[in-house]
């Protein structure tokens, strides 16, 4: 059983490494140089891919929240917190790459462009989720309360997306006018590979985070066992 799990883990790592290398290769060598923006446009692939993972990770947290409320099993809570941590990294990457892209294209580090804005909102929700967990000590309460927050928070994200989109349609940024891209099939393939690579990367890191949390749990259980049965150095 364990052998199979380790084999699977190794396979996953190899697969994601290959996928990420492939994506990198395609982004820099295969994808064409974009006509309006030039090479700077290549950051777009990483930006969109990490945005996708950022959203997907939150979706996983939403589902595990429901799972925990339904079953009250620790593994749902582990999945939720792991996905939030990994997702936070990806959504931060989204915001940073978006900002880096904005500078050469629009001349400013920030623009209230819908995708960037919704990424910032998601980032703040992730951070709020993390802060909520650290402010709770009781592990059962922590799991239960953050599950509810994850559910409510996720539900507002599509609504925020619509609101921000309409807002920007009515009051378009003078700047975002120049953000159009000439999209070719080769760019499409590169994007797909990038999405796949980042998703695999997410799963790999998620798995490691889950294993880490499980080890921490096992350690806590051992400690608790020692404390109840070996008080003051002598067996009770």
């Amino acid at each position: 059983m364990n052998k199979n799990r380790e084999l699977f883990g190794l396979l996953l790592i190899i697969l994601s490494t290959v996928a990420v290398l492939a994506a990198l290769g395609m982004v820099f060598l295969y994808a064409p140089r974009e006509t309006t923006m030039g090479d700077v446009q290549r950051i777009f692939y990483f930006h969109v891919a990490s945005a996708w993972v950022g959203f997907f990770a939150f979706f996983v947290t939403f589902l595990s929240g429901i799972g925990y409320l339904a079953r009250a099993e620790r593994r749902w809570d582990i999945l939720a917190l792991s996905s939030v941590e990994v997702g936070l990294a990806f959504i931060t990457m989204t915001v940073i790459t978006g900002s880096l892209w904005a500078r050469p294209v629009w001349g400013t580090y920030w623009t209230w462009e819908p995708r960037l804005t919704i990424s910032a909102v998601q980032l703040l929700i992730y951070v709020a989720y993390g802060m909520l967990r650290s402010a709770l000590e009781n592990p059962e309460k922590k799991a239960r309360l953050s599950a509810v927050y994850g559910i409510v928070a996720f539900v507002t994200v599509p609504l925020s997306w619509f609101a921000i989109r309409w807002w920007r349609t009515i009051h378009p940024d003078i700047l975002t006018g120049g953000g159009g891209m000439a999209f070719t099939p080769r760019m499409g393939y590169t994007l797909l590979v990038s999405l796949a690579a980042f998703t695999l990367l997410y799963v790999t890191i998620l798995r490691q985070r889950i294993r880490l949390e499980r080890s921490a749990d096992a350690l806590a259980r051992l400690r608790a066992h020692l404390e109840t049965n070996y008080i003051g150095g002598s067996h009770v």
């Binding site: 009781n138 592990p139 059962e140 799991a143 749990d217 806590a220 259980r221 608790a224 109840t228 009770v236």
Partner: protein
């Protein structure tokens, strides 16, 4: 009235109740003693439907607190060292509110009667925040018995009470016991509280370690015995 079988409750890795078996007949007056961390409060809150068991079975008046919560709640009264009273409301308003929560038919009469029994009729229009601790606890008792509970669960109710309030509480509990109410009271003060109960149950590390009728307890020797049991 209470049937608890192999009840466990864990909060994450921490095991609060490790398999409790307890059976309490209608009309019994049980003192539940044990050191801090033994699981007394957890057990009481499970019985009060405030906490769900991790495993095991609990029946109160034949009902399952998890599945038939409303039915159980109608029959039980709960008192802890926290008063569960709204400080920004008057004594009367507090009782009226709870009367509505329990959907009592004769709320005005019942509220007036209970205020009389706990000796707070003269202060009924005063805000609870102006009450002393003893007065607050007396009002809390009134709140707990307002809906004519069949089972009264008390979690260290004597905490912080002055002698007058302590006596009032004891008198009231004795009256209720005589009226047929089942009472389960937790405490870690052996001297005072063993005198009120009719049966003594000792809880330690999440388990029942001793269960005897009060008459069989030698008050002089018990403290020593208790130390042995809970170590």
């Amino acid at each position: 009235m209470i049937q608890v079988h192999d009840l466990t409750k864990s909060f994450g890795p921490h095991v609060a109740l490790a398999g409790v078996d307890l059976s309490v007949e209608t009309g019994e007056f049980v003192a539940l003693v044990g050191p801090n961390g033994a699981g007394k409060t957890t057990l009481l809150r499970v019985l009060a439907t405030l906490i769900r068991p991790t495993s095991g079975s609990v029946r109160i008046a034949g009902l399952d607190p998890v599945k038939e919560g409303e039915g159980v709640r109608r029959r039980i009264g709960f008192l802890s060292h926290r008063t569960l009273l709204y400080e920004d409301l008057t004594a009367e308003q507090n009782l009226w509110f709870y009367a509505k929560m329990y959907d009592l038919a004769d709320s005005s009469a019942r509220v007036a009667d209970l205020l009389e029994r706990v000796g707070l009729t003269s202060r009924r229009h005063d805000l609870v925040r102006t009450f002393s601790r003893g007065m607050q606890q007396r009002l809390a008792v009134a709140r707990a018995v307002l809906h004519r509970a069949q089972l009264l669960l008390l979690d260290e109710p004597y905490t912080g009470l002055d002698p007058l309030a302590t006596q009032t509480l004891t008198n009231l509990l004795t009256e209720l016991a005589e009226e047929g109410c089942t009472i389960l009271l937790t405490t870690h003060d052996l001297n005072r509280d063993l005198k009120v109960g009719r049966r003594v149950v000792v809880l330690a590390r999440g388990r029942v370690v001793h269960d005897v009728p009060r008459a069989e307890v030698d008050l002089a020797a018990f403290p020593e015995q208790y130390m042995q049991l809970v170590r």
